[in-house]
């Protein structure tokens, strides 16, 4: 589904990603962990097409197409979804209208008919239940005045509605209390299937108690320095990242 080969990316001339290789197949959940500044969020941003990152080397294939040639909206229409670390507040843009517009753009790309406001309401009600959100959220402006937990739940709501093939969760767990974490993880688990895949970027092992990954990768200085199964995450929980830094010539 996703194949990243020798990916190098920089911001303002500073190289952040230093040769990433990663393969994600349908049905898989990959966790990307690593200390602060290791390039986790950059990787998520490059996947979604953030303009401030320039890819200097390497390639990314998504469902057989060159991802790096696509504008962010095309990536979304092809089935990529990024759950933002810091979801944006957009005053004046109605949540319901926004999400229905997005859904219809994606459906049009897939050759499907648009959904009416009424049909949309039916779809969204089911998804709202999944993330334990009230219908009145739909009347509000996108993320405006939402608490941290509400914003993250709204990301999962959007993901559930747009039904991506590959979802990248960028530190969706950061700053969540245990209830919100449980809801967010529950949403992800409900959507897991043999057809889709997830990349879960996180700083903390805690989320992986709820979303059990098939693979765990440790990112350090812009490279994947260690890969393993869920036990690797537990090891990181017990021993921290220092041993990774030492093994890779960094300062502990």
């Amino acid at each position: 589904m996703l194949s990243i080969k020798n990916l190098h990316a920089s911001v303002d001339g500073h190289e952040i990603l230093n040769g990433i290789d990663l393969d994600v197949k349908p049905g898989e959940v990959h966790a990307i962990m690593g200390p602060n500044g290791s390039g986790k969020s950059t990787l998520a941003g490059v996947l979604a097409g953030r303009a401030e990152y320039s890819v200097t080397e390497g390639r990314i294939d998504f469902l057989g197409k060159n991802l790096l040639e696509m504008a962010p909206e095309m990536r979304a229409r092809e089935g990529l979804f990024l759950a933002f670390q810091y979801p944006v507040e957009i005053p004046g843009v109605n949540s319901s209208y926004f999400l229905r517009t997005a859904l219809n753009e994606i459906r049009a790309h897939r050759g499907l008919d648009k959904v009416s406001a009424l049909e949309f309401l039916k779809i969204i009600r089911e998804k709202l239940e999944l993330v334990e959100m009230d219908e009145k959220f739909l009347k509000r402006s996108v993320n405006e005045g939402f608490s941290g937990g509400e914003k993250k739940r709204n990301e999962i709501l959007q993901m559930a509605t747009l039904e991506p093939k590959l979802a990248v969760l960028d530190e969706t767990d950061s700053g969540l209390d245990i209830d919100a974490l449980r809801i967010v993880a529950g949403g992800v688990n409900a959507l897991r299937s043999q057809e889709n895949a997830f990349i879960v970027v996180t700083h903390y092992q805690r989320l992986l108690n709820y979303i059990v990954p098939d693979f765990v990768h440790v990112l350090y200085q812009g490279k994947i320095v260690k890969s393993g199964d869920k036990d690797l995450a537990l090891h990181l929980e017990d021993f921290g990242y220092d041993w990774i830094k030492e093994q890779n010539g960094g300062q502990a």
Binding site: P72, V93, V142
Partner: protein, 440 residues
């Protein structure tokens, strides 16, 4: 030299106009002659005057405009798109002349009078005669002077004591003249007596894409404990010049809400002056301007707090694209005795191109010591992170920008309480948005 030439031009137009007038209220005739004399001495304002520093009106003073012709009757169907509610009471003026066929003044409640100014003056309406041209000073500038000199027809609304009318009345000023260089001098007088309520739409539209000069003056006199909601919707031709002067005077415990939409015009200037002349008055001014091409849209507002315990709120927003220019000048003048004044003003601008410019100038003049006054102005671009967020959900960039503009404008249009009108204005705004730009 040129300027003298144009003064002579309007003097000769005035002489012709006066000869053709048959209504002979001597007081009005005296006022007209005073106004043209003032104009002959002072002419149009220049950029050397502080209030006109950013707006050069020489494109207007360089053209010898002639009075617009009285047209053949207009097909009433052509005005329906500009009226919310097909049976709404309305006065329609075509090229400055009342169009009785298109106007509807039946079914108004007793005590609510909607008629042409000419009719009101001909029937010796005491209130009209007493208030007309008493509030907007003709010696303020050449535009008010010209309008006053050429007062002939216009709209007159009178709401008697205790009469409340919630449905908006429409005052529609249409220019259909395809000939170039015509002018109209619309005059509006609205009197709302104590405890009365009125909602009124003053709208300027063009059915011709010609260069003309519309120079309206509106006076609104609001009695004690009365409520007025006033909409101005300016959709002149993109080649037209629109210079409007609005004077509002309020008495104690009354309220005035203004919704001022500026969409059209090559040069579109509105001067709004609201006088809070009693205690406990509430004043809210909402404004939205959209400028593209080489449009210059200028809004000057003055809120004058003369008495204690009044509130004023002002929300103006603008979107500018291409080489458009906008001016916002908002003065809040708090007199010495206007203690406990609570005034807030904001002006926010969205700039879509490198060449578009905005001059925004809040001015607080405060002579009382126990007041709360705040103001803020911002000029910015569409937030890139928001655009990326929308795009990351599959929404194309142009549509994402449209959504952002719609949201920005919506924060003003959402302030309209009348559902039909709010949707109508939102549609007009939407019609201006194309592929993340204005008017393309």
């Amino acid at each position: 030299m040129k300027e003298t030439g144009i003064r002579d031009w309007y003097l000769s137009l005035f002489e012709e106009f006066e000869r053709e007038l048959n209504s002979g209220a001597p007081a009005l005739g005296h006022m007209r002659r005073q106004a043209i004399r003032w104009f002959a001495e002072n002419g149009f304002p220049s950029t050397r005057q502080e209030e006109w520093r950013f707006t050069n009106v020489s494109p207007i003073s360089e053209i010898k405009f002639e009075a617009a012709e009285k047209p053949a009757a207009l097909d009433p169907a052509r005005i329906l798109p500009y009226i919310t509610g097909d049976d709404s009471a309305r006065l329609v003026f075509v090229n400055g002349h009342i169009d009785r066929m298109s106007s509807t003044t039946a079914q108004l409640p007793h005590g609510l009078m909607l008629q042409s100014l000419q009719d009101a003056l001909a029937s010796n309406d005491a209130a009209a005669a007493a208030e007309l041209a008493r509030h907007a000073r003709m010696d303020e500038n050449g535009f008010v002077a010209l309008n006053t000199a050429f007062i002939n027809d216009g709209a007159y609304v009178h709401v008697a004591k205790d009469v409340a009318h919630a449905r908006p009345l429409h005052l529609l000023f249409i220019t259909t003249d395809a000939a170039e260089a015509r002018m109209v001098q619309p005059r509006v007088l609205i009197i709302v007596e104590d405890n009365a309520q009125l909602s009124v739409i003053e709208r300027y539209i063009s059915l011709a894409d010609s260069t003309y000069f519309a120079n309206p003056v509106t006076e609104i006199v609001i009695g004690e404990n009365a409520n007025v909601t006033h909409y101005k919707i300016q959709q002149e031709s993109r080649k037209a010049f629109h210079t409007a002067r609005l004077q509002v005077v309020l008495k104690r415990d009354s309220s005035y809400t203004s919704h001022n939409y500026a969409f059209g015009g090559a040069i579109a200037r509105t001067d709004m002056h609201v006088v809070l002349d009693g205690e406990g008055i509430d004043c809210t001014l909402n404004g939205l301007y959209l400028g593209g091409g080489v449009q210059l849209i200028d809004n000057h507002t003055v809120i004058e707090h003369r008495r204690p315990h009044c509130n004023s709120r002002e929300f103006y927003k603008g979107i500018l694209d291409e080489r458009a220019r906008a001016v916002f000048s908002g003065k809040i003048h708090v007199h010495k005795y206007a203690q406990k004044t609570d005034a807030m003003q904001s002006n926010q601008n969205l700039i879509l191109s490198e060449e578009a410019t905005i001059d925004t100038k809040p001015q607080l003049e405060i002579y009382a010591d126990d007041v709360k006054c705040t103001h803020g102005a911002t000029v910015g671009r569409i937030d890139e992170e928001s655009i990326f967020y929308l795009c990351s959900r599959g929404i194309g960039k142009a549509m994402a920008k449209n959504l952002m503009m719609q949201a920005f404008a919506g924060q003003i249009t959402d302030r309209i309480k009348d559902d039909a009108l709010r949707e109508h204005i939102a549609e007009i705004v939407l019609g201006h948005l194309h592929d993340g730009h204005l008017h393309r």
